[in-house]
């Protein structure tokens, strides 16, 4: 069913009682060409691009919980491509360009709002490093502009720009094409489009083991809903990647941490850009519903609990209020955490694993949402062809042995 103004009108005339589910809920078949473990944004996008780009439609997505119920539904919805190194810039810019066309392509409004992003510099050193950062982006062909103190104040008038501000704002830089996209819609849009191409989305289906055949090649998975065979399997499980890797018999260079976010009660439009303050670890945007969406830095101890610590919550609220004193009387409505897969260089891993036939997309850490189209596109490519996509070539597991890390920790914009 195509979504359009006419379809909406037709729906309205029948009191919206006749809408069809956006995707089927099929029983798992005994075998598929490709099985994807993980029904978040990256897994759904992988299945969609397998079907669309490579014509592989006999695909199942196995999701332990429900579609988009993990980190895809727990992030702060920010999309941007302000990375430092050419390898990362190419990958994240590819994702942002996909996002720019995604609503049309998927026939599903992902509510992309390119409201721009403002990075705050709080010291002379911040100013210098941000000038380097913005210039690196421009060298990579990505839009960036260095902002003066006055330009920052004009972009976000509620910022505390007074002389005695706890975190004085000296300037910053901006990526105008950055912004937000509705996270649930990205998951639902990819799910619906993949389903329409024949992909089976199987929810409440946890993988409990991998089956291997001759030469240790993977031949299928054991799940709570029985054995499912597949010659090629992709893992896109974010914070749970290590758990699945252990089932398959190898280790990853990942530590799982809780990353918190929260929203305030909704209010009238007050902040029409995304504000990031790497120095304090706070980043804030206003959702289309009016809530202030506040993201925190990591709870810095290993965790698989999808809830954050009060100590970090307190710190991030304090930092946000120091930047925006007028938010002090807002009440927090919800607070939550997602389990993120942090690697030492804060760059992803997309490619083969030590188990033949088994491929992985992980290591996005605190920044997976913005990269969903690129993660899906490149994992689909390696699953379909057996060769790494050129964008993913630098992001292989082997870099942790050779030492050729792509250390984006400084450029990721979030204090790790």
């Amino acid at each position: 069913m195509n979504y359009s103004a006419l379809a909406l009108l037709r729906g309205a005339l029948s009191a919206h009682r006749n809408w069809l589910p956006a995707w089927r809920s099929p029983e798992p078949k005994p075998a598929y060409d490709v099985v994807i473990v993980g029904g978040g944004g990256h897994g759904l996008a992988t299945a969609y691009y397998l079907a669309k780009n490579h014509g592989i439609r006999n695909v199942a997505i196995l999701e332990r919980g429900w579609i988009g119920g993990g980190n895809t539904g727990r992030n702060t919805t920010i999309v941007r491509s302000n990375y430092l190194f050419p390898e990362s810039a190419r990958l994240y810019e590819f994702a942002l360009k996909c996002y720019e066309n995604l609503s049309r392509e998927l026939n599903f409004n992902i509510m992309l709002s390119q409201r721009g992003l403002v990075m705050l510099a709080h010291s002379r050193h911040d100013l210098d490093s941000m000038a380097r950062w913005a210039n690196a982006m421009r060298m990579n062909g990505i839009d960036a502009e260095i902002l003066t103190r006055e330009q920052v104040a004009a972009r976000a008038p509620l910022l505390d720009m007074s002389p005695d501000a706890r975190f004085p704002v000296l300037g910053g830089f901006s990526q105008r094409r950055a912004g937000t996209a509705r996270h649930d819609a990205v998951a639902w849009g990819y799910a619906r489009a993949a389903d329409a191409l024949g992909v089976d989305i199987i929810q409440n289906c946890e993988v409990t083991g991998f089956l291997t055949g001759a030469n240790g090649r993977v031949v299928g998975v054991e799940t709570h809903r029985g054995r499912i065979l597949a010659e090629r399997i992709g893992i896109a499980a974010a914070g749970h990647s290590s758990v699945l890797a252990k089932l398959a018999g190898f280790r990853l260079p990942i530590t799982s941490y809780a990353l918190q976010a929260m929203v305030t009660e909704p209010l009238k439009p007050a902040l029409d850009t995304v504000v990031l303050s790497p120095g304090t670890g706070a980043y804030v945007s206003q959702s289309d519903k009016g809530e202030m969406v506040i993201g925190a830095s990591l709870d810095l101890f290993p965790s698989y609990a999808q809830r954050g610590s009060f100590a970090v919550l307190q710190g991030i609220v304090a930092a946000t209020l120091a930047l925006f004193p007028s938010f002090s009387r807002l009440r927090l409505l919800r607070q939550w955490a997602g389990i993120v897969d942090v690697v030492h260089d804060s760059s992803p891993i997309i490619g083969p694993t030590p188990v033949p036939g088994l491929y992985i997309n992980c290591g996005w850490g605190t920044g997976g949402f913005k990269a969903i189209p690129a993660g899906g596109w490149t994992l689909a490519h390696v699953l379909a062809t057996g060769r790494n996509h050129e964008l993913a070539e630098p992001f292989q597991l082997g870099r942790f042995i050779t030492g050729r890390l792509i250390d984006e920790a400084a450029a990721a914009g979030i204090a790790h």
């Binding site: 749970h240 290590s242 758990v243 252990k246 280790r251 990853l252 260079p253 990942i254 530590t255 799982s256 810095l300 101890f301 290993p302 965790s303 698989y304 609990a305 610590s309 009060f310 100590a311 690697v343 030492h344 942790f400 042995i401 050779t402 030492g403």
Partner: protein, 90 residues
């Protein structure tokens, strides 16, 4: 807020401590292969369950100690000295 028991100072809030990550990692010989070095530096079990890790009472006595802690419930199963052998919580 999570609370941890410092072996020297007793029960304190999590915000006084810094986690130093997985403990009981043994530094390989300098002549070790790249694979062994890579494994030592970067690859971790990252268990969903009991994790043996080192913490420092940074805003207290400054001492390092070991914990066995569950990564889902955050329950501390044992507190032990840096040189003690890993306790069995299987």
């Amino acid at each position: 807020m999570m609370q941890l028991t410092c072996p020297w100072c007793g029960l304190r809030d999590e915000s006084e401590f810094v986690c130093g990550g997985t403990t009981h990692l043994i530094r390989p010989d300098l002549a070790a292969s790249d694979v062994t070095w890579g494994e030592y530096l970067f690859f971790r079990d990252n268990p969903k369950g009991v994790h043996r890790e080192r913490w420092r009472h940074a805003y207290g006595c400054g001492q390092w100690f070991n914990l066995a802690r569950h990564t889902v419930t955050h329950q501390v199963l044992s507190v032990y000295a840096m040189t003690d052998p890993p306790p069995d919580h299987s």
